[in-house]
């Protein structure tokens, strides 16, 4: 029976999503829970599962459309229509847990081709060893076979390319069609078949690579991905609405460097993670946020909302663009615990597997631009938060000390962008001083747990 597919509600703060890519087309048979469309919210990209088994009959929301939660995005002919149970079927629980999948491209799959009769395992039959199979019995091994099988006709030696660099001289029909469909030149594809022949799998791999990490070509207008558009909209809104102001201090990282060196191998051995400077910066920042609640708040039309919980978002270069996984109640966690949680979410971000849960509820953002070699930055605030802190590269510099001697010290700039509606220079400086002192108090002996 005809049945409308709605955009599922995925989280309290999420009101709309952009249709990124339809995985199914009208006329396709769909299985219940099978992903049918990729959508992107301002928090996360995800796949929407089919609410029922049947045939997709019409797509209502086109790729690129922004759609409100609960709006009809497609119609299907369901075999067993879930009686008004759609929202429950595709409810928040299932969807929130849905990991972000890489953009789907057609790949050779071990799944059964649909519509074919598949024999049950028992129906296939098994061979009885030593069975008397005929008048005189028969052995089940091939004594005649030499090293080479007999030549099997058209795939013979003369037809394959000689690996002389012209490996794409002869394209199979499937390859030719795929190249046309995806507008790829044969020269762009690395052939792995006999003599460097381009196989169907090679083209599909090239398509996947292009879609996951492409460089814009000069002069070509490239349609941004939905993730890219979300980032653009989010950044523009922040700059449009928030009067940014900036402040920075430099921090002597001698103690942190010593502490990290002292613990690095033990942490690697015991927990399997590489101890970086980020968990130190996060621990100190979280404490400073607790002591400076204005930094951990949001400007709203009706007032300034203090968040209470210190949930720090960490900016990470994910597989599909910027992602900001959140470490919850970071002020209550020791450095080691933060290091473990950071390793987990960073890994998930790089694999594109962050859930909506992982990226929701942030109250402040920490951006470790120093890992990329930056020494100063004026970050854009993660709207609607009140401030963002960048930790810059640690650079060895001659430093004039209090007793007028000069020493080489590992120095790091920390740069704060803050919402001047909420925070003035005095509060910003107080916060920065707290972070600075917190980092400078760390010594080789500081406990991580």
């Amino acid at each position: 029976m005809p049945f409308e597919i709605e955009m599922p509600h995925v989280g309290e703060s999420v009101t709309e999503a952009v249709i990124e890519k339809w995985l199914k087309q009208p006329g396709d048979q769909i299985e219940k829970y099978e992903p049918i469309v990729e959508v992107v919210t301002d928090k996360v990209a995800m796949e929407v599962p089919a609410p029922a088994t049947g045939e997709l009959t019409r797509i209502v929301a086109q790729e690129g459309d922004t759609v409100a939660m609960g709006a009809v995005i497609a119609e299907m002919d369901a075999e067993d229509a879930p009686a008004a149970a759609v929202p429950a079927e595709a409810g928040p629980e299932q969807v929130v847990e849905q990991p972000v999948q890489p953009v789907s491209t057609p790949t050779a799959s071990a799944d059964p081709p649909s519509g074919l009769r598949i024999a049950d395992a028992g129906q296939v039959g098994s061979l009885i060893s030593a069975a008397n199979v005929g008048p005189t019995g028969g052995a089940f091994s091939d004594t005649s076979l030499g090293a080479e099988p007999s030549d099997s006709g058209p795939a013979g030696k003369d037809d394959v390319d000689k690996g002389d660099g012209a490996g794409f001289a002869r394209l199979s029909p499937a390859v030719r069609r795929l190249l046309e469909e995806h507008n790829i030149e044969p020269a762009e594809v690395t052939g792995t078949g006999v003599g460097g022949r381009i196989t169907r799998a090679d083209v599909l791999a090239a398509v996947q690579q292009r879609e996951s990490g492409s460089k814009p070509e000069a002069g070509n207008l490239q349609r941004p991905s939905a993730v890219r558009r979300m980032i653009a909209e989010h950044m523009s809104r922040s700059v449009r609405e928030i009067p940014h102001a900036w402040s920075a201090v430099e921090v002597d990282m001698s103690g942190v460097v010593a502490c990290r060196s002292a613990n690095r191998s033990a942490v690697l051995e015991k927990h399997g993670i590489n101890l970086t400077y980020l968990p130190f910066a996060l621990a100190v920042t979280a404490s400073a946020l607790w002591a400076n609640p204005l930094l951990n708040s949001s400007w709203q039309e009706d007032g300034i909302l203090a968040h209470g919980e210190v949930n720090v978002g960490i900016a990470v270069a994910g597989s599909e663009g910027l992602a900001v996984p959140v470490i919850r109640e970071a002020d209550a966690k020791p450095v080691l615990r933060l290091a473990i949680e950071l390793a987990e979410v960073v890994e998930k971000a790089r694999e594109g597997k962050l859930s909506l849960e992982d990226v929701s509820g942030g109250t402040f953002t920490l951006n470790n631009t120093g890992a990329l070699g930056s020494v100063w930055g004026g970050a854009i605030i993660n709207h609607p938060q009140a401030a963002i802190l960048t930790t810059e590269a640690i650079v060895k510099r001659p430093v004039a000390l209090a007793d007028d001697t000069v020493e080489v010290r590992p120095m790091m700039n920390i740069c704060l962008s803050f919402d001047h509606r909420v925070i003035d220079g005095a509060e910003a400086s107080a916060f920065l001083q707290d972070v600075k002192q917190g980092l400078e108090q760390v010594t080789a002996d500081t406990e991580l747990e």
Binding site: P113, S126, S144, P149, S152, A174, T199
Partner: protein, 328 residues
């Protein structure tokens, strides 16, 4: 479910159909008092009597001709040809007459006749007990030709063949009789004629075959998976006429690389037709030329064990071809 061999499945199909329908009767050489050379009808004469389990002279033309006469007059005969190698005298009755009954009577008559034909080699049967003769029947419009490879398919398809209102040539590979065991549902069940099925799933290459070769292909596919991590989809045709064009095309499209494996000599064979179907239906999805494994073009299966092994496709030969296709 019970586990049984192919010969037991064939026997049980006939037994249940004879009990169900009094018009079903069996005729053939040595099938009554000897129970058939493969013992497919052992004990039948005791239960059904000599009027329904009939020993015939060594005259295949008569067996097919009498069965045809009974069929057009309302009976459902099962004619057993002792070995496929002996079917030639019956060709005129089967191809020249039986296949044309429906057309020749403008649809007024049909011939609900099943011709059981044990065929195939690899059993040291030599020149007169080893041949693959399927293509002669598969080429003939008006006939249905079934070639099961497993107990499940043998029983379910033989039931369908006996109940079919048109003539069915039912090919039983001798070597599978006591070599292959598998599950068969208890009670009344049948499998539709004309549907190929997937006996193994895989996404890298497609292998299409039938009969004994199915089991060699499955062995090779297992080795290919374990040794090379290449997964073969294995399709069993089960019915050779009418061929399941749609399933064949779909299996070919699934991987774009197709290997055809047959025990019959390849030139102008059933799998030649399968290759044509693939070219017609799946050309734009092909990623490699269709490859074939089959015996050399010799008139008979040789008798010498060494030569017989050289003639027959084996799991090893099939595996080598699978590797070549996967690497193409």
């Amino acid at each position: 479910m019970s586990q049984k061999t192919v010969i037991k499945a064939v026997r049980d199909a006939m037994l249940s159909e004879m009990r169900r329908d009094p018009d079903v009767f069996i005729m053939g050489e040595d099938i009554a008092h000897r129970g058939g050379v493969f013992l497919a009808t052992d004990g039948f004469v005791g239960e059904f009597g000599e009027e329904r389990v009939i020993d015939t002279p060594l005259a295949e033309s008569s067996i097919a001709g009498i069965a045809l006469g009974a069929a057009v007059n309302g009976k459902r005969p099962i004619a057993e040809i002792q070995f496929a190698d002996f079917v030639w005298p019956a060709i005129n009755q089967i191809v020249g007459e039986t296949a044309r009954v429906r057309y020749g009577t403008n649809g007024r008559k049909s011939a609900p006749l099943t011709v059981r034909v044990p065929y195939g080699g690899g059993v040291r049967g030599g020149l007169y007990h080893s041949q693959s003769i399927e293509v002669l029947f598969a080429h003939t419009p008006g006939l249905k030709v079934v070639a099961p490879a497993t107990p499940y398919d043998a029983q379910g398809l033989l039931v369908s063949a006996i109940r079919d209102d048109d003539p069915v040539v039912f090919l039983e590979h001798k070597k599978t009789y006591r070599l292959v065991r598998g599950e068969v549902p208890d009670g009344d069940y049948s499998e539709p004629i004309g549907v190929a099925d997937v006996k193994r799933q895989g996404g890298d290459i497609t292998v299409i075959t039938y009969g004994l070769m199915l089991h060699y292909v499955l062995q090779a596919a297992q080795a290919l998976s374990e040794q090379d991590r290449v997964e073969a989809l294995v399709m069993d045709l089960r019915t050779l006429r009418p061929l399941d064009r749609q399933s064949i095309a779909q299996a070919a499209r699934h991987t774009g690389k197709v290997l055809l494996v047959q025990e019959d000599t390849p030139a102008v064979s059933v799998l030649s037709e399968v290759s044509a179907i693939i070219a017609e239906e799946a050309f734009y999805d092909l990623d490699a030329p269709v490859m074939r494994v089959g015996p050399p073009e010799l008139p008979p299966m040789p008798f010498s064990p060494v030569q017989e092994a050289a003639f027959m496709p084996s799991p090893e030969k099939i595996l080598a071809a699978m590797r070549k296709l996967a690497a193409t």
